[in-house]
Amino acid sequence: MATTLPRLRRRERARSGRARSEEHTAWLLCAPAVATILLVTAYPIGYAVVLSLQSLDLRFPEEGGFVGLDNYGTVLSSPLWWQTVFNTAFITVVSVVIELVLGMALAVVMHRAIFGRGLIRTTVLIPYGIITVVAAFAWFFAFDPSTGFVNSLPLIADDTAWFGDRFSAFAVIIMAEVWKTTPFMALLLLAGLTTIDEGLYEAAKVDGATAIQRFFRITLPLMKPAILVALLFRTLDAFRVFDSIFIMTGGGQDTESVSILGYNQLISRLNLGLGSAVSVLIFLFVLAIAALYIRGFGTSVPGREEQK
């Protein structure tokens, strides 16, 4: 903070009339976009906050009213909420770590592919193009003891009930997530890989660096911004996991995520007050994750680059 202040003042002083009018025009040009964004995002979010401060159940239209932070108190003091936060964090961390490792491997392969580059890149992207619910059903049916093929594979007991136990259910959910979103991770990482100057590798080779050394000394450090952006996107995405769990276990076996919990309050119980409180809390968690990445790890977000 201290370092930015003098710079701001200097800029302030240097401001001419022309600069000010330019800024004015800039704001005018931005206005439609800003207004649209306010309308489609800020308004619903604001409305959710307002709802979360009320006791409001659509099934009991007569009851209700302003209750302040009561709903937040109810949610935060409920063991169920913390259980789902833990479940969500568990799924997020495990799946993002696996995706990062696999995605990196895929990115390197795609980058080094000599022939059929376009074909390979397109093929790798197929899982990401499949609708999440469809992918979730495919995995569900594959692991279902009565219809699936997985249990007839060697080394797997024929009557394994994958969705009957908490950790095997988690395992299938995470596998489905990983399968579906690794291509996205790989694509983001590939973009980072292509920005590295080939000359650096050649120079390192001349100096006698091994392939492993080149990967850890050149590729990884230079890819840090791309990796952080990829991790940021995927973490935000994974934290809101819903479809796979909804299809495979419906939240049973203690596999509920925060989104499923919110869905139950909002859509099944029509308890708009509690449900909105859950949604706002999920939003705050997502904000906190984004802040952690951007402030804590110095992830650069699009649009910020020029200032550096």
């Binding site: 159940d57 099934r59 009991f60 409920s78 909420w81 003891p145 394994t160 076996q253 309050q265 099944s268």
Partner: protein
Amino acid sequence: MIRLAAILCALGIILAGCGAESAGGPVKLDWFIFNEPSGAPVRIAERCSQESGGRYDIEFRYLPSSADAQREQLVRRLAAEDDTIDLIGMDIIWTGEFANAGWIREVPGAIEQDLTGTVFDSVLASARFEDRLYAVPIWSNTQLLWYRTDRVDQPPGTWDEMLEQAERIGPQGRIEVQADRYEGLTVWANAMIHSAGTQILSGPEELALEQGPTERALALMGRVSREAAPPDVSTANEDSARLGFESGDSSFMVNYPFVHPSAKQNAPEVFEHMGAALYPRVEPDLPSAPPLGGINLAVSSFSPHPDLAFEAITCLIQPQNQLEIAESGGLPPVNRALYDRSEIERIYPGFSDLIKESIEAAEPRPAESPAYQDLSLAIQRALHPTTGIDPQNPTRTYERLRARVEQAVERRGLL
């Protein structure tokens, strides 16, 4: 709203929407219901529309096939006072919720009089809220015990007997139940608790769940799940149970009558030895409490044509229509007298009296509670997975169930 619609009409923006009525043609009645696979409801609705002499025309608006998804779509529309809904095909467990919220109209006294005594008491009770009738039953459903006649001589009368027989049969003695975390688990728990001699609620907002009988019911559910049910019991629903029974690996199943024609088609060798009996009891000296299902017809409070809608309902529920639904869809009629007709014996060969007996004995779920959805979620949460219920010591599960149900009745906290 009406003024706005009039203005829009005047502006000619929604030509199609308001053209029909001003032209004096039949009034369009929108019937929101799931797409019953046999198509019988569509045929009877067409016939009723024709018989109305151009006064109304019933149009189908299909809801998803799962009951939970149907409800989710309906309640959002109703809470928003959607006036495009006229008729609603309601699962029998929605009555309390919909009536309490003021979403459905009370059934006129004249229609109610015709139904009393004609329709099974248990079925009609499912359409009542606070002693008033809010819906008109069109078809019912109930679970029977299906068993293998080649593996047991006498069908078991109680769950204990069934467990004994299952053990004697060995690996193929499995019992198919529904214990996934969904409405089906509430159905099973309700039947067990009732048959053990207590109930979940004793009034719309009064908890019953007497400890002794409830624990007895829970212990049995735990034992069945651990010792006799297939390994995927924690995700088992009506359809996976049917598939399990059709595979021949199971000797018992509690399920709705749709499994009978299904086995005939998919597994003739199982079908040959398929017997039906009354839903098993928990206590030998207390009556069986079979689950009740089915659809009741209600008129939305926001429908602009309530009188025509009720007129359409009286046409839809006529005895020959109920028979047609039973014949093509296998869904049991709600009029008691129809079970004396010869057609019924053809539809349910050898077990039509059993279905009648089962519907008469059925104990509905505590759906009179306006917060039934909360209640059902609470029960599912407390009991799932049923393999986690310790048959030797069900007290821990009992306490969890009691606390959850209490929470649901008071509608507090997360569920």
